[in-house]
């Protein structure tokens, strides 16, 4: 019988939820104790599902760990799965993104890191190689860290063209490569950068998250540091889709697993007021690629709610109807098993939630 596994990465450890009906959840943890779980992934392309986490100890530094028994045990790469080459003169601070590759590339996992860099593994996350083209990009010295650090937080490999990869970073914005990562071009035309003077820059935007449906890779959705956008040409240009939202600031944005034009956000008021509008806990859903939005509230807290949702703390599973999940900075996790129409609390009182990921395993 299949079940959904929900990974919940927090400021102090990992929790794992398992459910066969997405109503009753068996949540265990903390796994990996004091470690900050900056990113996580469920690798379901292999016969044995593999969990990947970025676990950063405040004392002992970051590691990419893997589990082939759904979290009962974890394996490390002794030298470190991700190591900056000596000539870079730098060191890994955090792994912000772990992204399994397309289904026809078994074993390929991408990683986005702080400092901003893109990495590729061909052994399911045991070792990674640096993409020199992005590391050596002449714009690098003009990328500046947001509050969380200077990091590549989004990696979107094209499912139909192995040479095409899109990344996003804060700050820096969106960059894309069409030559297997050898060269990178900024792709921010139309995205605001209110924190910079002058006209809209070519790069330097603080894009918080970008999402894509695997069946429609030319269409991207971005939650910006002020602004919500859609691109229909793979990042060549962006149009605002913020009309109808109660605020255009926020962090996460996710696409429905089976409907390419359906997208979810968790709006906040503004840069200077990072709480939900009207102090209400509401996920917003668009079913028409951002043309209109509806508030989803059934089953979510109805009392005043002042918590943001971080950029990787919202996700979908791959079931049908889809499960949508998000975690808050007071350590609660909510889930929907009906595309977002209704919600229920899965767990509470965890440390602040940094990331969630869900997937179906046999």
């Amino acid at each position: 019988m299949s079940e959904v596994v929900l990974m919940i990465g927090t400021r102090k450890g990992l929790w794992l939820g398992r459910s066969s009906d997405r109503v009753q959840w068996d949540v265990t943890g903390p796994h990996l104790g004091m470690d900050e779980i900056y990113s996580c992934a469920i690798e379901t392309r292999s016969e044995t599902p593999r969990l990947l986490v970025s676990a950063a100890s405040p004392h002992w530094g970051p590691s990419v760990l893997r589990s082939d028994d759904l979290g009962q045990s974890w394996q490390d790469t002794p030298q470190g799965a991700i190591r900056f080459p000596a000539d870079t003169g730098t060191a890994l601070a955090h792994v912000w993104a772990l992204q399994p590759g397309p289904t026809d590339q078994p074993g390929v996992v991408y990683a986005g890191t702080e400092p901003s860099a893109l990495w590729r593994s061909e052994d399911s996350g045991e070792t990674f190689s640096l993409y020199r083209g992005l590391w050596d990009h002449p714009h690098r010295e003009q990328w500046w860290p947001g509050a969380g650090g200077q990091a590549v937080h989004t990696v979107l490999p094209d499912p139909f063209d192995v040479a095409r990869v899109t990344v996003a970073m804060s700050t820096g914005g969106v960059y894309r490569s069409t030559d297997s990562g050898q060269s990178w071009t900024p792709a921010n035309k139309g995205i605001r950068a209110d924190f910079l003077p002058g006209d809209e820059p070519e790069f330097g935007q603080c894009v918080h998250k970008v999402a894509m449906h695997r069946d429609r890779p030319e269409q991207l959705f971005a939650q910006n540091h002020g602004g919500v956008y859609r691109s229909d040409d793979g990042g060549g240009s962006w149009q605002s889709i913020a009309d109808g939202l109660p605020g255009d600031f926020g962090f996460p944005i996710v696409v429905h697993p089976h409907r390419p034009g359906t997208v979810y956000v968790f709006p906040l008021v503004a840069d200077a007021d990072r709480v939900p509008p009207q102090a209400r806990c509401r996920v917003y859903r668009s079913t028409d690629t951002g043309g209109s939005w509806e508030a989803l509230t059934q089953g979510l807290p109805q009392e005043p709610f002042y918590l943001p949702v971080l950029r990787d703390a919202m996700c979908t599973d791959d079931a049908d109807p889809a499960g949508i999940y998000f975690g808050t900075r007071d350590g609660a996790v909510y889930g929907s098993r009906d595309d977002g129409d209704s919600w229920a609390e899965i767990t509470r009182h965890l440390p602040d939630v940094l990331c969630v990921r869900a997937g179906t395993v046999a």
Partner: protein, 118 residues
């Protein structure tokens, strides 16, 4: 440093090893906090090959070969001591001495997590 039941050396063996190290400059004894012992086969102390005139950096270079998963938790891949890890040579915090260039001089090294780390 108190003895630990997880130590893999008896007191007599430790004395022999220390004596041999002092005589030949062959090893430096490194003491580990409990949380790091999983990366050293459960041991609370290690003998690391090092020359008589070794610095802390030299010892950590040797440790990177001997126990890479342990070494990278003490310093990053650029060779920088992690900010919330303290390394002592005898009773001296190397940050109060010459940092990684601190001479070991046959003394024990202790790795201790800082109170600031979490």
């Amino acid at each position: 440093m108190p003895a630990d039941p997880a130590d893999d050396l008896t007191a007599a063996e430790s004395a022999d090893a220390l004596s041999a190290a002092g005589a030949a400059g062959a090893t430096v004894r490194m003491w580990l906090p409990g949380v790091l012992r999983e990366h050293a086969a459960g041991r609370s102390r290690l003998d690391v090959a090092a020359a008589a005139d070794a610095t802390v950096a030299d010892v950590l270079d040797a440790l990177a070969v001997q126990e890479p998963a342990l070494e990278r938790r003490i310093r990053d891949e650029a060779g920088v001591l992690r900010p919330h890890v303290n390394v002592y040579v005898a009773d001296t915090n190397i940050r109060d001495a010459d940092g990684p260039a601190t001479m070991v001089g046959g003394a024990d090294i202790s790795v201790i997590p800082a109170v600031s780390g979490g």
